[in-house]
Amino acid sequence: MPDIFIAENKKEGASQISQDLPKEEVSQEEFSNHSRHIFSAFSLYPRGVSFETQEEGEKIILMLRRHPIVNVKWIVITILLLGVPTLLNDLGIFSSLPSPSGFSLFVTLVTYLVAMTYAIEGFLGWYYDIYFVTTLRIVDINFYNMISKKVADAEVSKIQNTSYTTHGFLGAVFNYGNVFIQTAAKIPEFKFTSIPNPDKVAKILDDFMVKFQA
């Protein structure tokens, strides 16, 4: 695997680090699974992406989401929900009920509304659950309870150890898994969950760690 970073010299301050590290010295083609489209789950040096607490001069090296395969569950459930009114109609449930004429339409509309909400929540939960590796920090942004968020970060210089796991049939087939990052920061461990290419992410972080400790 090609080196991602080559440290020139050990820098003294974070501001210098942000200016000098890492170098984008690897061609994008060498990361076969990397892409920059808006639904990418593994994006190296993403363009047009920023986050609220990003500092001036801080460059995003990696943007990660959970592997797209995790969306299959909510997509399948949404499709099944959309089929419920048709199924009820075909089974003659509507005609057997002593209900007003608009009852079937009411059930259909409500089912579509619930399906739409479920799909939106499923999509948002995946799309905005993002991990960043920047020139300064690793950042984990989580949204929960619909109107709350949690932004956790740790300086890359405080990364102490990284490890990764791939588990299960799907994890092996689609090459996704968890990356664990131990840090000396306030938050001792970060977990990047179900991300694609966990081996490459761990390698990049290891590279980072080695360069900072050199």
Binding site: I38, G48, V49, S50, F51, E52, M63, S99, P100, S101, G102, F103, L105, F106, L109, V110, Y112, L113, M116, T117, I120, E121, L124, Y127, Y128, I130, I141, F143, M146, I147, K149, V151
Partner: protein, 74 residues
């Protein structure tokens, strides 16, 4: 206690009222989703903000239309 179900069709009035209450709560939920999307798009800029915002407003409009439709058809 009033026995709605013995009142020849009044049970549907009860179902309609119950449905409208639930859909009213759902409308509030749809507004919370708009708030949620705003929070997300303010925190992260990933180039897909406009479609996501449109989706959340479309959802609210759809929820409102279902509420009105229930008022009319049930």
């Amino acid at each position: 206690m009033v026995n709605f179900f013995a009142a020849g069709g009044s049970e549907w009035l009860l179902i309609k009222a119950f449905s409208l209450v639930l859909l009213g709560i759902y409308l509030i939920y749809a507004m919370v989703i708009i708030r949620q999307v705003k929070l997300m798009t303010d925190t992260l800029h990933v180039g897909f903000e406009a479609p996501v915002k449109f989706l959340s407003y479309f959802h609210l409009v759809f929820a409102f239309l279902v509420f009105v439709a229930t008022l009319v058809i049930l």
